[in-house]
Amino acid sequence: MIDIGYDAAHLLGALVLMTSFALLYQRRLFSLLNVFTVQALALSGAAAWQAYAHDEPHLYITALLTLTLKAIAIPVALHRIIQRLHIERTVEPALGIGLTMVAGVSLVTLSILLVLPVTENATALTREDLALSLSVVLLGLLMMISRRNAVSQVVGFMSIENGLILAAVGVAGMPLVVEMSIAFSVMVAFIIFGIFLFQIRERFETLDMRKIESFRGESD
């Protein structure tokens, strides 16, 4: 028979992974944000499903949080910034897309090689979930490295976070998931609305990290 619970979770997890591949692939900021929104949706779906399937109501909070903050608030805010700074057209990947893709695929294989052998006695779902989330984390890192633009770096960071939350919800009965996700979101929020919006903009009128990095240590 078909284990619907497994399939659904599997599907959502896979969707998250796919989206982070898509993130790597995007050239334009807006589409980047849209893909990220999709990822957030998928993640909240996964969380909700987990909450329903294993009957862990507190995961609903996580799902809700992800939905409101990552799928709605942050993308909107970023849209605003992008429009205000007129940088719609600029997403220049530091590495070539193709190279990035190759790297991404190899990272996914690495994470599968790492996770699967060590988790024989965990449930199949957990193993899958872990492998997926590890790949998402690594891909997020790869994205932060391969992009020059602050927005896309933040997006990369948030996709790392998504991967973590995916892992957290995937592991059965993990306590404090909510608290951690909240803490994380607070951090991201602080950063984006604290430093990022006001300070960088008021200082540099740009989000290109190359400009910011001209103020590297000991430029005196």
Partner: protein, 477 residues
């Protein structure tokens, strides 16, 4: 459970909220000091009455001394900062609004540190350290200068990623423990984990430790994850540099060590020693060479912090009772000495109006008390007797060379190279014809208090402290 521990945690938390509301910065600075005093007193009370571990909090031989140390450095730093910000306000670099924010964040930061130290739960630990990152990022950017924002941005990005990796490691630990001790809090509780460590699946532990090491290691400032550290130290307010070097690095290392204990207790897992040794040695050598080209005094001492974190990591990496003892001692001594140095540096920078090393000369002539204090601090951090750092380096080097001659030689080499740079700089800072003649604000009490402690520790260690350290050293394997 005695009220001491709750007070230690609650006092800063409450004060953080309160200070956010106090408009008068002078009053706020003294409230800040008062709160720290309360915290410190309570932390001392912990020595006498040791509460039993709960699901969230624990107090054992490892963290009791560190909590007291943290509270102490917090107190002295608060005293120092009271004088420091006085000058900053006078020179108009900071306005009262930012100071409100600063004081609140200071207390919040202390809270997160103390929480991290006393946490009995991996999740709480992670949340606390994440909070510490957050608060410090905001304080580093306090001056709103381009350089400070760049530093804060770098700090956030690198440590944010680090924190993320640490979280993944935490999840893995839970994953490993959950089959053994069932779902729920138990599988994330130190005391329980340590008790059943032997039954946990070692392979996942290995994987988890890698993420935790890279994650928390970023905050420890181990090469090649150290990049955020110098700029954060250099661009933030000096009190923050003091607590960053003196406390945050220690707490992050503390987290790593807790997990190392877990692996050691498990037995079947890979020995994390070589990893720590490699990172430690590379940090040591890298920082030692970096010291030679530094022109900014705070960045200079930040690199010296990296160097010492490297030494400590190496000590725990090579392990064994002597080396572990040395590592623990070195942690304590370094945090005291380095924060003392940053106090002195803060005064010196304010007196001479520049952070450039070339701009500061002949302190022992222009400001004798400050100059000799700085000199003593550097002598202490350079590992010369009669200060405590010498004892730890003595134990480390002798025990290392007896076991791993080549590593011992490398270690000595790194220390010697760093020493050369330290002497070069400190002689120019403290001797020769003086430059800045401006009087210094605030008291030098914190500086000399730290030096006194380091000096005493170099000559005589109290028996209970030794007992604690030896117990922990045994646990660290």
């Amino acid at each position: 459970m005695t009220p001491a521990l709750p007070i230690v945690l609650i006092a800063p938390l409450v004060m953080a909220a309160l200070l956010a509301l106090v408009p008068n910065w002078r009053l706020a600075s003294w409230l800040n000091v008062g709160a720290c005093a309360v915290t410190f007193a309570a932390s001392l009370a912990l020595f006498t009455a040791k509460p039993a571990a709960t699901a969230m909090l624990v107090l054992d031989a490892f963290n009791v001394a560190l909590i007291a140390l943290t509270a102490f450095v917090g107190l002295t730093t608060a005293v120092f900062s009271a004088g420091y910000i006085g000058h900053e306000v006078a020179s108009g670099t900071l306005n009262p609004l930012r100071l409100r924010f600063y004081h609140a964040m200071f207390q919040a930061f202390l809270f997160t540190l103390l929480l991290a130290l006393s946490a009995n739960n991996l999740g709480v630990l992670w949340v606390a350290i994440e909070g510490a990152t957050l608060t410090t990022v905001l304080m580093v950017s306090l001056y709103r200068t381009a350089a400070s924002i760049e530093a804060a941005w770098k700090y956030f990005i690198l440590c944010g990623v680090g924190i993320a990796l640490a979280l993944f490691g935490t999840i893995l630990i839970y994953l490993a423990a959950q089959p053994v001790m069932g779902p729920g809090l138990a599988a994330m509780t130190w005391t329980r984990l340590l008790a059943d460590a032997a039954r946990i699946e070692p392979n996942i532990l290995n994987l988890a430790f890698v993420f935790l090491l890279i994650g928390y290691g970023t905050k420890v400032g181990l090469a090649p994850l150290h990049a955020w550290l110098p700029d954060a130290h250099a661009e933030g307010p000096t009190p923050i540099s003091a607590v960053l070097s003196g406390l945050l690095l220690n707490v992050a290392l503390y987290a790593v060590l807790r997990f190392k204990m877990l692996l050691a207790a498990n037995g079947a897992a890979l020995a994390p020693g070589p990893l720590l040794m490699v990172m430690g040695l590379s940090s040591l050598l890298l920082a030692a060479l970096m010291l030679y080209r530094r022109r900014d005094i705070k960045r200079f001492f930040a690199y010296s912090s990296i160097e010492h974190m490297g030494i400590i990591a190496f000590a725990f990496g090579i392990g064994g009772p002597l080396a572990n003892f040395a590592g623990l001692l070195h942690m304590a001594m370094h945090s005291l000495a380095k924060s003392a140095i940053f106090f002195a540096v803060g005064h010196a920078v304010q007196a001479s109006g520049t952070q450039r090393i070339d701009g500061i000369r002949g302190l022992t002539v222009s400001h004798p008390a400050l100059g000799w204090g700085l000199l003593a601090g550097v002598v202490a951090i350079a590992g010369l007797p009669p200060f405590g750092v010498f004892m730890s380096e003595f134990l480390l080097i002798t025990s290392t060379f007896a076991r791993q001659p080549w590593l011992g030689v490398l270690l000595v080499l790194g220390i010697a190279v760093a020493f050369g740079a330290l002497v070069l700089r400190v002689q120019r800072l403290c001797f020769g014809a003086p430059t800045g003649g401006a009087p210094i604000h605030g008291t030098l009490l914190p500086l000399y208090a730290h030096l006194a402690v380091v000096l005493v520790a170099g000559v005589w260690l109290p028996a209970p402290l030794v007992a604690w350290f030896q117990a922990v050293a045994a646990l660290l394997g």
